[in-house]
């Protein structure tokens, strides 16, 4: 009879709260230019949410703000407002809104946007981050895990993969700070990451392993480019990893309970 509050918008609010340290550190470092970029991304993403509310009766979501923040932080620099608008429109509409809005999407719309911009405008330089911004990913992850809105397994799995890569002597050190940012902003998104505990560990490990592989073998790529590509592939693998985890779970149960 009574109703609780862990619906979509509550989760979105907690995610925004978790990303606050990161956003504030980035705004402090980037100044007015960063603020303008974030405002533009928010307006474009919000505008498409509004269009889909009016045309398709899909309630808008605060999840759009998370997408906007991720895109504003990670998108290539010096591409101009028109190209940014084009990229965000593509990512938001085809990554999220055509599937029915935030919560029904298959891949993270910010990942789609960034991949689109990266492939579409390869000459544009990818952003660099000052150390305080990269460090801010740690409190963001802690708040997200503590509030239960970021999957612990994904973050732990990719941290593990990163540690293994470092220990194995791969040249991943320059990618690690950006890797943490992308992990918090794109990969640890509860919707498009795996949902089973084992799937989450695997998903995190796939992201970490792909980032390490690209860092070692993809000459001339910027750290953000490497991590976004790894995030895109990892989120595409998420349903498969979930399926593997569920298959193992069912198999184990069947062995325990006979027919079960």
């Amino acid at each position: 009879m009574t109703r609780g509050l862990w619906d979509r918008e509550t989760v979105a609010l907690f995610l925004i709260a978790a990303l606050m340290p990161l956003a504030l550190a980035w705004l402090w470092a980037g100044g007015a230019e960063a603020a303008a970029r974030l405002a533009a991304a928010l307006v474009i993403s919000g505008g498409w949410n509004l269009v889909f509310m009016l045309a398709r009766a899909q309630p808008p979501s605060l999840g759009g703000a998370i997408t906007a923040l991720a895109v504003a932080m990670l998108a290539p620099e010096e591409i101009g407002l028109a190209r940014l608008a084009l990229g965000i429109s593509f990512g938001t509409v085809f990554g999220e809104l055509v599937f029915g809005g935030w919560g029904r999407n298959v891949v993270n719309p910010a990942t789609v946007t960034l991949a689109f911009l990266g492939f579409g405008f390869p000459a544009a330089p990818w952003p660099d981050f000052v150390p305080p911004v990269a460090w801010a990913a740690i409190p963001a992850a802690l708040i997200g895990i503590g509030a239960g809105v970021m999957p612990f397994g994904v973050i732990a799995g990719s941290a593990l993969a990163g540690a293994v890569a470092l220990a194995a002597g791969l040249p991943v050190a320059p990618v690690v700070p950006v890797g943490g940012l992308v992990l918090v902003l794109l990969v640890a998104d509860p919707v498009s990451s795996p949902t089973t505990p084992l799937g989450r560990w695997l998903g995190g490990a796939v992201y970490g392993a792909l980032a390490a592989l690209f860092a070692a073998g993809w000459g001339g790529a910027a750290p953000v480019q490497i991590c976004v590509a790894a995030a895109l592939l990892a989120s595409l693998a998420a349903p498969l990893l979930d399926e593997i985890a569920i298959g193992l779970w069912v198999m184990r149960r069947r062995r325990r309970h006979g027919q079960g």
Binding site: W6, D7, A57, A245, I246
Partner: protein, 431 residues
């Protein structure tokens, strides 16, 4: 946690503590209160076809049959107290609606002859249970209805713990009745070829493994909701399937069964908690089965309108009568529904159904980590019956997912989707 923990996030401590209202304190005195009115009602959602055995106006003894099943006349519904039959309400097709009884003071209680081999012989025992009116206290899974008279389950789960908010501690109703419980457990063993599980809370064991007898498996259950729900335990211990039914019975009823075997009389009272935010203070009562819920909370409610629910605040439903398995009454403040939004806003917001689900730790805790929560909820939302059944949906009924509904406030309700799935599966399995 181990490997299994990585696969399912399982663990005894998974779950949530809900602060709905004050529950009866652990050592609250048990007050005897038989209500003046009571009713014989079927399990919620079930409408068995019956034949009435006691006409309106007739006086019946406690435990005397008032109705029997049409397709299996051995199975009786009995009066929970010495009473005069006030009103018989049948639904179309001779289906049992309710049989209202007025209490008669100083009436008798029926005593049945107990055959010597009742504790060992399944046939004799089930006949005794049918005629004593014990059968409606048993619930079978899948589907959550009363079992057929001839059914033999693959396992029986006896619940000596209850994690629902405001629920009475079953240990209170079992204090001093350990012998009867052990006798009842021994008898249940005769009804199944499989195991009998006794689930009890950690820290408050009712029976030790040795006292429970050689063939009863004692299971320790975590304290948080939903760990102490029969469905979660069945899902964990012995998943139910179409051709492998599993029964669940409350431990207090099993102790009643032990008394029936010893004396020939089935006790008709039980411990019931009456609590909720509309009660001035929670009560722990001993009352008859089918008691009038208004009578139980009479004199203890706060001013203002309130809802009286049979069952917990999560899965209860407004009812005049306690059902054959209910052990709690929740009296909640009746809050007016939120004001309607402007029609234009509603039109823009309301069409997105089912509402998207976002995985969060709260959701995993709300399922007790018993199964891959998101996969199950997505399968239910999408109507993917095959996947949901593969994940164990047939072991569950509405009350097991009530906490999920509470936590996510989704629309349509997950419990309704589960019921729809069970109905489809039942229709498909019907001969």
């Amino acid at each position: 946690m181990g490997f299994q923990g990585i696969l399912t996030a399982a663990g005894r401590r998974r779950g949530l503590v809900l602060a709905v209202a004050a529950a009866p304190s652990i050592d609250a005195p048990i007050v005897e209160r038989l209500t003046e009115e009571a009713a014989v009602v079927p399990l919620p959602g079930a409408t068995p076809r019956v034949e009435i055995l006691a006409a309106e106006g007739e006086v019946v003894a406690a435990g005397a049959p008032v109705a029997r099943l049409r397709h299996d006349p051995g199975i009786r519904f009995v009066a929970p107290m010495a009473a005069r039959v006030a009103r018989v309400r049948l639904l179309p097709g001779h289906r049992l609606g309710e049989i209202v009884l007025f209490r008669e003071r100083g009436g008798d209680a029926v005593s049945l002859p107990v055959p010597k081999d009742a504790e060992a012989e399944a046939e004799t025992l089930s006949t005794l249970l049918h005629s004593a009116g014990f059968w409606p206290r048993i619930r079978r899974r899948p589907f959550g209805a009363m079992p057929l008279g001839s059914e033999r389950p693959t396992a029986i789960v006896v619940m000596a713990c209850d994690s629902r908010p405001l629920a009475p501690d079953p240990v209170r109703g079992l204090a001093g009745r350990e012998e009867a419980l052990a006798r009842g457990l021994g008898a249940l063993k005769a009804l199944t070829a499989g195991p009998v599980f006794l689930c009890q809370a950690a820290g408050a064991p009712v029976l030790t493994a040795r006292d429970a007898g050689p063939q009863v498996l004692v299971v320790t259950v975590g304290p948080r909701h939903p760990q102490g729900l029969a469905g979660i335990r069945v899902h964990d211990l012995c998943p139910a399937e179409i051709d492998r039914p599993v029964w669940d019975v409350d431990a207090e009823d099993v102790a009643d069964l032990g008394d029936l075997l010893a004396t020939g009389t089935l006790p008709q009272t039980r411990i019931v908690s009456v609590a909720g935010d509309a009660m001035t203070e929670p009560r722990l009562l001993r009352c008859q089965i089918g008691a009038n819920t208004r009578g139980l909370c009479y004199g203890g409610t706060r001013p203002g309108s309130h809802l009286v629910l049979a069952g917990s605040p999560l899965d209860g439903w407004p009812s005049h009568w306690l059902g054959p398995r209910d052990r709690q009454v929740s009296v909640m403040v009746d809050r007016p529904p939120p004001a309607d939004r402007h029609w234009f806003l509603s039109a823009l917001m309301r069409t997105s159904r089912p509402r998207p689900l976002i995985p969060s730790a709260a959701l995993v805790q709300a399922t007790g980590g018993a199964f891959p929560a998101m996969a199950m909820l997505r399968a239910l939302a999408a109507g993917d019956d095959e996947t949901a059944i593969r994940l164990g949906a047939l072991s569950l009924i509405e009350e097991d997912l009530a906490l999920v509904d509470y936590v996510i406030g989704g629309a349509p309700r997950v419990t309704d989707r589960l019921r729809a799935l069970l109905d489809r599966a039942e229709a498909e399995a019907a001969p």
